[in-house]
Amino acid sequence: MTQSRLHVPHPPARPGETPDFSYLKIPPAGSVGRPDTLAPALQIEALGTEMVRVLDEQGHAVGPWNPHLEVEELQIALRHMLLTRRFDERMQRMQRQGRISFYMKSTGEEAVAVAQAMALRPGDMLFPSYRTQGLFVVRGRSLVDLMCQCLSNTHDMCRGRQMPIMYHWAEGNIFSISGNLATQFPQAVGWAMAAAIKGEDHLAASWIGEGASAEADFHHALTFAAVYQAPVILNVVNNQWAISTFQGFAGGEQRTFAQRGPGYGIPGVRVDGNDFLAVYAVTRWAAERARSGGGPTLIEHVTYRAAAHSTSDDPSRYRPKEDWQSWPLGDPVVRLKAHLIALGEWSEERHVALEQQLEAHVTACWKEAVAYGTLNEGPTLDPLSMFEDVFHEMPAHLRRQREELRRLLHGPDAAAARGEGAEG
């Protein structure tokens, strides 16, 4: 008998070592069957261990999950993904230049948010994570608005209250992003329960990282979704890393994250998260299931966090540099582009032209956004507004505090006090 020893998960490679993704079992595109959308969860457990893939190595869409999208839609998808990436890069640069305080890129994972937002209906409610900016791009929120949020400027939808990237869009049916991991997962289930109570046809979808799946709210979401058979799509974006910890620390060594679903009686589907067509198709399948009374679906998107966790992070401390180059599922943008080219509906030239156009668009948006103010340059929001929206109506103690701040900022001694403050 070997004695019990504490097992400590390890990533396959640390800085200086050669990237190694051999732990990933990747079936050929087209090899996984597509069951009926109302198939009982028990009969389709294999979907949690396989990996739904549509785009093959040659850029062809193959197999039963091929959603057969119109070329135009594919081109729009490519555009959305590219725009998301350009946007991310610009914002990261602006953070480096001190124009915004913080940023988080979704590089390498763009297919998840873009394909899912395209596969769902406008009336469906999205409960995003901080790495699904593509949802806003697809639903058409202007980049200027997103930038203004990151700038906490006079046009900031959050009125200066949230860190960059914590967007929301009530009219666009996108919930608010929270700094607290995973909280939105069971909230989405509650939203879906309400839709079912009201007898409405809308569903909810939510996203968390594989690391966040260890939080209590993951369990709450799956339990409530299963018990009430809520019309909800619960997505775990497995980008292999949670800041510095490898997915093994969330339980990924033992099982896929999709396999958690069946334990609750919820179908779990594992999908190649860098394959736009596969993500789109799986989402459509889950949406149809939910809308037909089939209840929830858990989807695991296998992808890779190509960039740092955030602008505060330095991944070279904990994983091999350039390891994304070795990631076997490639780059979702490159793969969709190759597909369009294989279809004869795209070219390197058109791609370059589109990139230039998007870059120009981002530049124009940024110009407009900064005109509404930046962190350090006016115009700025009125600090007195910080007392609003704590409650629907401002209670007396907040009115009193607002008065105190008003006197501090604008009262007779304000200039002196501030001047002195700088000396102190």
Partner: protein, 339 residues
């Protein structure tokens, strides 16, 4: 008008709101078919159906998270946490999410959730069925906090809570569900039917949040209290003969500072009473506020009479409980106090 105990008054408030507003949904552990372990939701599922009055899994965090999602989707959720002692698993959803959703979205999204939960001791519940955690929630910006002391207020305040656009923590002192309690466990139980506040209108009425109530006018000292302790304070005043003005806060957030301070400025003396533990309890905020607002009127130190700073012990419930003798002693002390 009908005679109701507090359980019936709460049931009536839920009934009225379920009937008036199709957005209202009521849920929690055992609240559906069974009608709640304290019977507050008795008969409601039968009347409104199991899509409006729901049993839930035993997961307080999930209950509140679901309530938030439902609230965002246009419902008016009323969630029950079976005992206030079991609200902690939902703490993150309440504090990080429910309380701040309106703020962080600059008013674009909100969830008008009411959380009902029985609190307080005196029922031999020991450390995990007796807590009064209201103080902790009063420190969380964005939550309203309510605790009624009688059936009439319970119904009116609960209706206001459900109608509030803000999330509300609604604490129900379970020791007085069935009758007022003056702090003496050896006396025979008194039913609400013998108390004027046991008279409760059948239909809809609202008691505004943020308004305290003078339950006993007086000139000599002010007692600030809420929940069960209102009745105990009344008994203490009778006991020691101090002409105390007893104020039932009813709402802790927002606090009716004006009424409180008007009284203390008048009497010059103040005793604060709550069942919760003393250190950093809500009495600390009351004391600090009164001191700031009424300093020049105070003729004696503000006194706090509270639960001791220990968990609620099963065997020593009545040594722990801040009963009439302790309150009376504090009243005497503030009357006699001199440098």
């Amino acid at each position: 008008m009908a005679q109701m105990n507090m359980v019936q008054a709460i049931n009536s408030a839920l009934d009225v709101m379920l009937g008036r507003d199709p957005r209202v949904v009521v849920f929690g552990e055992d609240v559906g078919y069974f009608g709640g372990v304290f019977r507050c939701t008795d008969g409601l599922q039968r009347k409104y159906g199991e899509h409006r009055v729901l049993d839930t899994p035993i997961a307080e965090g999930g209950i509140i998270a679901a309530a938030i999602g439902m609230g965002v989707n246009g419902l008016r959720p009323v969630a029950e946490i079976q005992f206030a002692d079991y609200i902690y698993p939902a703490f993150d959803q309440i504090v990080s999410e429910l309380a701040r959703l309106r703020y962080r979205t600059a008013g674009d999204l909100c969830a008008p959730v009411t959380i009902r939960t029985p609190c307080g001791g005196g029922i031999r519940g020991g450390q995990t069925h007796s807590q009064s955690p209201e103080g902790v929630f009063t420190h969380v910006c964005g939550l309203k906090v309510v605790m009624p002391s009688n059936p009439h207020d319970a119904k009116g305040l609960l209706i206001s809570s459900i109608e509030s656009e803000d999330p509300v923590l609604f604490f129900e002192p379970k020791r007085i569900y069935n009758g007022p309690f003056d702090g003496d466990p050896h006396k025979p139980a008194v039913p609400w039917s013998s108390h004027p506040k046991g008279e409760v209108p059948d239909g809809h009425y609202a008691i505004p949040l943020g308004k305290a109530d003078i339950v006993r006018p007086g000139a000599a000292a002010t007692v600030l209290t809420y929940g069960t302790m209102v009745h105990v304070a009344e008994a203490a005043a009778r006991l020691c003969g101090v002409d105390a003005e007893i104020i039932d806060l009813r709402t802790l957030v927002p606090l009716d500072v004006d009424m409180l301070c008007t009284s203390v400025r008048k009497t010059g003396r103040c005793v604060i009473v709550h069942e919760a533990t003393r250190f950093s309890g809500f009495g600390a905020e009351l004391s600090a506020t009164v001191q700031e607002e009424c300093f020049w009127h105070l003729e004696a130190p503000i006194a706090r009479v509270t639960g001791w700073d220990t968990p609620y012990p099963h065997a020593f419930e009545w040594d722990y409980f801040p009963g009439p003798a302790r309150i009376a002693a504090a009243l005497r002390a503030v009357m006699e106090s001199a440098a």
